[in-house]
Subunit: 112 residues, 2 copies
């Protein structure tokens, strides 16, 4: 596993990543936004089970970590849209690997 | 992002993965075990900051998800060792991508 199996320095960068992505919602929100910019309600509808309070908190944390951008449009009434940044998009491979692993995990756990 | 950007079915498998790996400790414990079987104390030492209570809880959850194996050796006194399973090892690519992304994230956040 990795050429650096157990290496403390590699563990540090994995820890950095996990801290930025902590919890079960952030990657799901990013995945939802990876299809295009969305409004608060749309995200909440796609990420099934998240409460408004949690979504609001997660969006703030994602913005702070420069993974998403919040834009206020000058419409009447004003509308707010969230979009994924290039840095957020750089999680593509992580999400892809999690997707494949999630499929395999379901098989291992539920079919045995 | 993915060819399936935002696809509900892909979101389900990412959700499965995140549920099995929830929290900031599980992947770090697996990474520590990826270098070889270890005893409780050794893992606790390598995964800096984890309490005994949290480590004990996480090990149980990892075992339930078939990601690690707990073995009791017939020594005097008996010793317990934890090792990563093949299913746990299948997280190699996820950990690798998180490692690379963690490095990039540190640069983005701390150097700008």
């Amino acid at each position: 596993m990795l050429t650096t199996g157990g290496c403390p320095k590699t563990m540090l960068s994995i820890r950095d990543a996990l801290e930025a992505l902590e919890g079960k919602w952030k990657l799901l929100i990013l995945f939802s936004l990876s299809a295009g910019p969305k409004r608060f309600r749309q995200i909440g509808k796609e990420v099934t089970g998240i409460t408004d309070k949690a979504l609001s908190k997660e969006l703030k944390s994602l913005e702070m970590n420069r993974l998403i951008k919040r834009e206020v449009h000058d419409t009447f009434p004003p509308t707010v849209e969230y979009s994924i940044t290039a840095h957020g998009m750089s999680l593509e491979k992580v999400m892809e690997e999690l997707h494949y692993w999630g499929l395999a995990h379901r098989k291992t756990i539920f079919e045995k």
